[in-house]
Symmetry: C2
C-alpha cells in the first residue's frame, strides 16, 4: 500500500518536487530569520564560518556557492556588525583569515533556536517514521551536494 503510488521512481519527478519543496520551505523560514536582523546569505555564511572554522574569503565563497565579490560584500556587512573579524594570513599577504566573533556565535545560536522552535514545532506533528525519512533525505542530500562534480 505504501508503494501503491510511484512517488519516488522517477529522478525527474523527485527533482521537481524536491525543488519546489525546498523553495517553499525556505520562504517560510526566511520570515522567521529576519528576526535576527541578518539576511539569509549573512546567516548562512556566518554558520559556515562557525562550523567550518576560520577560512579565507575565496574558500567561504566556494563553500557558499557564490562568487568572491558577492562574499566580499556579505563579509563586509558581517564585519560592520562585529559578527566576523578578519586577520591577515601569515605567509600570504593577499589572503585574509575570517573568523566568527563571540557575538557572531551568540547571534547564530539564538537564530538557530528561533528557527528550530518554528520549524521543529511543525515537524513534531510528524510521526517518528516520517521524521526519520526527512533525516535520511537530509543525509543523502548532504552527501550528494558534497561530492557534486
Amino acid at each position: 500500500m505504501t508503494q501503491a503510488r510511484k512517488i519516488s521512481a522517477d529522478p525527474a519527478a523527485v527533482t521537481d518536487r524536491l525543488h519546489s519543496a525546498a523553495i517553499h520551505l525556505l520562504r517560510r523560514v526566511r520570515r522567521q530569520d529576519v528576526a535576527s536582523g541578518l539576511g539569509p546569505a549573512q546567516l548562512s555564511a556566518l554558520s559556515v564560518l562557525m562550523f567550518g572554522g576560520p577560512m579565507g574569503l575565496g574558500e567561504l565563497a566556494a563553500a557558499e556557492q557564490v562568487r568572491p565579490p558577492t562574499m566580499s560584500r556579505i563579509v563586509a556587512a558581517l564585519e560592520r556588525q562585529k559578527l566576523v573579524e578578519r586577520a591577515s594570513d601569515a605567509g600570504d599577504a593577499r589572503r585574509i583569515r575570517l573568523r566568527a566573533t563571540a557575538k557572531g556565535q551568540k547571534l547564530l545560536q539564538k537564530g538557530r533556536r528561533l528557527r528550530i522552535a518554528y520549524l521543529a514545532g511543525h515537524f513534531q506533528k510528524l510521526s517518528a517514521k516520517e521524521l526519520s525519512a526527512l533525516g535520511e533525505a537530509a543525509e543523502i542530500l548532504e552527501n550528494t551536494l558534497r561530492n557534486w562534480s
Copy 2:
C-alpha cells in the same frame, strides 16, 4: 547498520540539516535557472500559475509566501515578457485574473527540462533506495507545507 547513526531522531537536528541542504541545493539550481532569463521568483510564480490555474494577485502572493507589492512587481516583469497576461475579473473590478500564456508555458517547460537534466543527472548516481527516500521526503514536506498552520 543502517540505523547505527541516530541521524533522524531529533527534530532540531533534522530541521538544521534540512535547512542547510535546502539552501545549498537551491544555490546549485539557481546557477542553472538563470539560463531561462528569469529570476527564481518569476519562475516559481509562473509555475504556480501554470499548475494552479488562473488566479488573482493576492492569491498568488499568498501561495508564494510573499507580500502583494512583491508579487505585483514579479507579475509586472512576467507581463513585460508576455509570459503572463491579465484580464479583469467579472464581478469585482478590483481583482485581476492572471494567466500563464502559451509562451510562458513553453518557457517553463524548457527551464524545467534544463533543471532536471542538471539535478537528475546527479540524482541518477543514487541508488533506487536513496532516490526513493528523497521522493518520500518531498512528499512529506509537501504535506507539511500544505497544512502549515
